[in-house]
């Protein structure tokens, strides 16, 4: 496979995953805030700030009053904002176009429908009353894409590269979401709920990662900071966890990396190293130092991406 096309497939995977997480984060936060138990969590400004924080465009001035329509527009359909869903979807399609000869007609058609759906979505309707419909459609369409990827592509290098992109992005997005919600929980602590460990925001966090129900089933009690973080970071059987994502990345890189003993500078070696570190972490270590953990992990993920680029996508 061409290195350039591999790069396109990898980014296609990343953009699909990114669209989904941004969309879900928006609607879950927005709607859970409507009947949140404390005043701050209910505050519209608080939610909008959280959304901006998550996509990496934080509102730094605490006194600034954010305009809801503007924020929703920026995150959803503003093609001038690099982080907007519409730009992620455009990039998904553009990358798919470059690799069009390698992917199935079915997958391409689904991507194309996805693209036209977003491109033709009524901007006015979206900011006024279409938020739920828009976001739910985005997340459902990404699920369709994932299904088409799994069911209509050969599980060869093409598949491995897309999956690496998706899982690397998933790990990144989950960490970013944890970061954003941890930040929210700290802020909300000053209000009604003093104990950050039992914040309402942990439930929202789990919902943002589509993991609330399964978490309840696993722990059989209300989520706390400890159990939530453990579930989303370390639990390998939770499909959204950082651990699970790295397991997937590791599995797929072995399709590309042919040597049994990859060199110490290789992407494969580094992925195993990061994975092993996580495997033998316990949650108390992380919880005490969540900021550091987030920073190191995000750096590790960037380093993995750099190594992949150098090794496989260099053209």
């Amino acid at each position: 496979m061409l290195a350039r096309v591999a790069n396109n497939l990898y980014w296609m995977g990343r953009y699909i995953e990114r669209s989904e997480h941004v969309a879900r984060y928006m609607h879950v936060n927005y709607f859970s805030s409507l009947d949140a138990p404390n005043e701050l969590s209910q505050d519209r400004q608080f939610v909008l700030r959280s959304m901006k924080f998550m996509v990496g465009d934080p509102a730094n001035d605490p006194d600034e009053i954010l305009d809801e329509i503007e924020v929703l527009h920026d995150l959803g359909l503003n093609s001038e904002k690099g982080f907007s869903i519409i730009n992620n979807v455009k990039s998904t399609r553009e990358n798919a176009n470059s690799a069009r000869d390698l992917i199935s007609t079915e997958l391409y058609e689904a991507i194309n429908k996805f693209y036209h759906f977003v491109l033709n979505y009524d901007q006015d309707l979206y900011v006024k009353r279409g938020l739920y419909d828009f976001c739910v459609n985005i997340t459902e369409m990404t699920t369709i894409l994932r299904g088409k990827i799994r069911a209509t592509l050969l599980h060869d290098e093409v598949y491995a590269i897309i999956m690496m992109g998706m899982n690397l992005e998933r790990a990144t997005q989950i960490i970013r979401i944890i970061n954003a919600k941890y930040n929210d929980a700290l802020l909300a602590r000053n209000g009604y709920d003093q104990d950050v460990g039992k914040s309402f925001e942990w439930i929202t966090l789990l919902k943002c990662a589509e993991s609330y129900d399964m978490m309840r089933r696993f722990y059989k009690k209300s989520p706390s900071s400890l159990s939530t973080l453990e579930f989303l970071i370390l639990n390998g059987s939770c499909p959204r966890s950082v651990m699970n994502s790295l397991d997937q990345v590791s599995k797929h890189i072995h399709v590309l990396e042919k040597s049994k003993n990859p060199s110490k500078d290789s992407a494969a070696f580094f992925i195993e190293k990061v994975r092993a570190e996580l495997k033998f972490k316990h949650i108390e270590e992380i919880e005490g130092n969540i900021r550091d953990f987030i920073e190191t992990k995000l750096n590790d993920l960037v380093l993995i991406a750099d190594k992949l680029e150098k090794e496989f996508f260099n053209y």
Partner: protein, 488 residues
């Protein structure tokens, strides 16, 4: 004017001067179309509209679109497609097929000759000046032996049915002829929309094009290679024919590369893959020849591969079509096609050329000057439709002007009769009914080393503007599925 009673064709208007492929002068359906006509009559116009919309959205969702660049956003448009197919009977097709193949073979021999011994030029059959002065005659190709001796691996021949019921060739396209992906898409779309009609006809498949193209490409592999690596090279995803490039690569199961994916080392060509360099042996080229190598041709090209021409010259890689084929699809060379066929194949041309009057020849000049109102007058050295006068659209004064122009420099002009393209019933959105529209046919011929192939089908292009004779997609043309029937 005769009016049909059936709703779907109820508003169909006949124009006596035109050759209708479906209905005869009495308004009766021709035999070939009888069954089809009855089947279509089973649909109401509303039914039909619904099918038509479905087919459109299917094209749209599959991304079979071309881009229209606007100020802010680029818009995507589908290539308009008509659900009423064109049928060509087995016997008629044999004629077209053998004619197209004959032309491709003759052109190939012609290209070999003008880049080697130049016999046809020395014998004075085709003027040296015509070839030597052509910008498409590549000096760099003189003396180069393309693998398998093939220049025009892919030819697209534009054929029309004139009002006399005979087929005429309008143009041979042997640079990078495009359109074959639409042939396949049209068939797929028609099958999805109206699968029932296929049961009543035995039409040849068109999906075998890609496998034949791959075999042709493999047949012209460089010496010493058993299993050649073939690729398709495209200018990139913003090219208007990108869909076709990706379709062909996918259908052949080969890589779709851009210039930046390839490099040349020691006169061999390699592509950059995730597992390192891989040698490339045959390149199906959808980049214009002058853009293929910035070291040899246009230095400002970013689409090409520096050094690829030297690799080609050495015989280490095959380019299809060969560089320099463009010289043979000039308008002026076209007029010599009957002589070219005779010279190399010692055969009479199977398909008619549109008759050409050379004003340089006194007796032909006389005829032209007397019949300007019935002729199309073209300057021999201009391209892109410049300086063409269509006789029946000229005023008296303009005719006099054209006459003076020709008299002044008779060598500069040729003249041809005004050709009338046949018409085919085509569904028109605005009037929500079928109307007569002019159609042509582009056939696709493949030449390889000891192998050739003519696609049994083709692209029937429709001029959607009433009375318009220009069928190009850039001019708002559409297309139809084209059925070539099996012999009974």
């Amino acid at each position: 004017m005769i009016t049909q009673t059936n709703p779907i064709f109820s508003c169909y208007e006949y124009n006596d001067g035109l050759y209708d492929e479906v209905f005869n002068a009495q308004g009766e359906t021709k035999e070939l179309y009888e069954t089809l006509f009855k089947l279509y009559c089973g649909h109401s116009i509303e039914d039909y509209m619904q099918l038509n919309n479905k087919a459109k959205s299917s094209f749209f969702n599959q991304g079979i679109t071309f881009q229209v660049y606007g100020e802010k956003e680029t818009k995507e448009k589908i290539f308009p497609f008509d659900l009423f197919p064109r049928i060509i009977g087995a016997k008629e097709w044999d004629h077209i097929e053998s004619g197209a193949l004959q032309r491709s073979r003759a052109l190939n021999l012609f290209l070999w000759d003008i880049y080697h011994d130049k016999k046809i030029l020395k014998d004075g059959i085709v003027p040296m000046d015509l070839i030597g002065s052509s910008a498409n005659y590549l000096q760099a190709m003189i003396g180069v032996d393309p693998p398998g001796g093939i220049y025009n691996h892919v030819s697209g021949t534009d054929i029309i049915k004139h009002s006399d019921g005979e087929y005429y060739v309008l143009e041979d396209n042997i640079r990078c002829p495009s359109g074959v992906s639409y042939v396949v898409c049209n068939r797929t779309a028609l099958k999805r929309a109206l699968f029932g009609v296929f049961n009543h006809y035995r039409a040849h498949t068109v999906t075998n094009y890609a496998e034949n193209l791959l075999e042709i490409l493999q047949s012209v592999k460089p010496k010493g290679i058993d299993f050649p690596t073939c690729v398709v090279i495209t200018p990139g995803m913003y090219n208007s024919a990108y869909y076709e490039h990706s379709y062909l690569a996918k259908a052949m199961g080969v890589e779709l590369v851009e210039g930046r994916d390839l490099y040349v080392e020691n006169d061999f060509v390699y592509m950059k893959t995730i597992s390192g360099p891989q040698k490339v042996d045959v390149i199906y080229r959808r980049v214009d020849d002058l853009f293929m190598d910035p070291l040899e041709f246009r230095a400002d090209s970013t689409l090409g591969v520096p050094g690829i021409f030297a690799a080609y010259r050495k015989g280490n890689v095959c380019l299809a079509n060969a560089p320099g084929t463009g010289v043979a699809d000039d308008k002026a060379v076209y007029t010599y096609m009957p002589q070219i066929i005779k010279y190399y194949l010692d055969e009479e041309p199977i398909l008619n050329n549109v008759h050409t009057y050379h004003c340089s020849r006194p007796e032909e000049l006389k005829y032209v000057l007397e019949h300007i109102s019935e002729l199309v007058v073209k300057p021999v050295d201009e391209s892109g439709g410049y300086g063409i006068s269509i006789g029946n659209k000229l005023t008296k004064e303009q005719i006099a002007e054209v006459r003076e122009k020709i008299k002044k420099e008779p060598r500069k002009y040729i003249a041809q009769p005004i050709m009338s393209l046949s018409v085919h019933p085509t569904y028109i959105d605005e009037s929500q009914s079928f109307e007569q529209r002019h159609v042509d046919l582009r056939t696709f011929t493949l030449l390889g080393d000891k192998k050739d192939f003519v696609l049994k089908g083709g692209l029937s292009r429709v001029a959607l503007q009433k009375g318009n004779l220009v069928v190009n997609s850039s001019q708002g043309g559409g297309s139809k599925d084209t059925w070539v029937l099996k012999d009974n």
